[in-house]
């Protein structure tokens, strides 16, 4: 069940990044997951959805991008700066 551990680490990395950038909310979290990463993608998706339902992530959706090899990487964050576009 290390997908939960991976999901928790993704949340920690995201929080650290959001704190550094001072953004209001995260809308999506993009993860690159390799076929040989030792991660069951459906399980990881389930864990991320459960964790992202809670603050400070409420409303964020996981986006899992399948890749070749053993890559396991936080690829991007789609964030809301909390201000209007002029």
């Amino acid at each position: 069940m290390h997908e939960l551990g991976v999901a928790l680490e993704v949340c920690r990395m995201t929080e650290a990044r959001l704190g550094a950038d001072g953004v209001a909310a995260v809308r999506a979290i993009g993860l690159e997951v390799g076929d040989e990463a030792g991660v069951e993608v459906g399980n990881l998706q389930f864990c991320l959805e459960a964790l992202l339902a809670e603050p400070p992530f409420a409303g964020a959706r996981p986006v899992i991008l399948r890749r070749a090899g053993d890559v396991l990487r936080l690829a991007f964050l789609e964030v809301d700066d909390g201000c209007t576009n002029d």
């Binding site: 069940m1 290390h2 551990g5 991976v6 680490e9 993704v10 920690r12 990395m13 990044r17 950038d21 809308r27 993009g30 993860l31 040989e36 990463a37 030792g38 991660v39 053993d70 396991l72 990487r73 936080l74 690829a75 991007f76 964050l77 789609e78 964030v79 809301d80 700066d81 909390g82 201000c83 209007t84 576009n85």
Partner: protein
């Protein structure tokens, strides 16, 4: 609102790997070799270590960190064969050890008086491959009661390992295990694998393993 995308491209395992680097640095500073024993459940990791502690414990000071999903049964078994404290890590459901657990365990090990550290990982051929513990090498135990094709089914762990230790050789005549085929599969995924054969229950069945252990311990062995 202004929605934008932040390009991150950061490895999820980066923090574990940074802690593993700390473990490696501490072990190397103390000149303590460390081996991460991995296998499927029931391959004989604990029995191999029991025999090793019982037979080599007087000539080598061997430290052990052992991980289990639940219970400290393995640590209790090992503790009967050594005066040293066996570090038990109960993962509470996690399917592998991580570097943070090893770094914490090192705080309770007198590295100055340690010739060799064994880490007995949770029985699992998938997840331990993703988690560097700061060891010098992974050693895969491969029991003759398993299928010969384990290396090609779980290539990542066999690719990462330096050594395969076949176990339960005393059962070879009772099971349909083809050793040559298993070795062929192992070499197919990792041509550099060192291969040892053991039986923890047969006379002389641990000789190859003990030779390996003595060769890798910190101090020259005086006998």
């Amino acid at each position: 609102m202004a929605v934008r995308t932040i390009d991150v491209r950061e490895r999820v395992m980066a923090r574990n790997d940074a802690i593993a680097a700390q473990v490696r640095e501490r072990l190397r500073a103390a000149h303590v070799p460390a081996f991460n024993l991995v296998s499927s459940p029931g391959a004989g990791k604990t029995l191999l270590l029991e025999r090793t502690l019982a037979d080599l414990g007087r000539e080598l000071s061997i430290a052990v960190v052992t991980g289990d999903v639940q219970t400290q049964n393995d640590a209790d078994r090992l503790a009967r064969h050594t005066d040293r404290l066996v570090q038990a890590v109960v993962t509470n459901g996690a399917c592998h050890l991580d570097a943070r657990q090893i770094l914490t365990a090192l705080d309770s090990i007198d590295l100055e008086s340690t010739d060799l550290l064994f880490i007995e990982n949770v029985g699992n051929l998938v997840c331990p491959a993703g988690w560097d513990l700061g060891e010098d090498a992974k050693i895969v135990l491969f029991s003759v009661t398993e299928g010969e094709d384990k290396p090609v089914k779980y290539p990542k762990l066999f690719q990462q390992a330096s050594t395969v230790v076949f176990t339960k050789l005393d059962l070879l005549s009772h099971v349909p295990f083809r050793m040559e085929q298993a070795v062929r599969f192992a070499r197919q995924v990792n041509p550099d694998l060192k291969i040892l054969s053991t039986s923890a229950l047969a006379p002389g069945g641990m000789d190859q393993w003990y030779q390996f252990v003595r060769a890798h311990a910190r101090r020259p062995v005086l006998r």
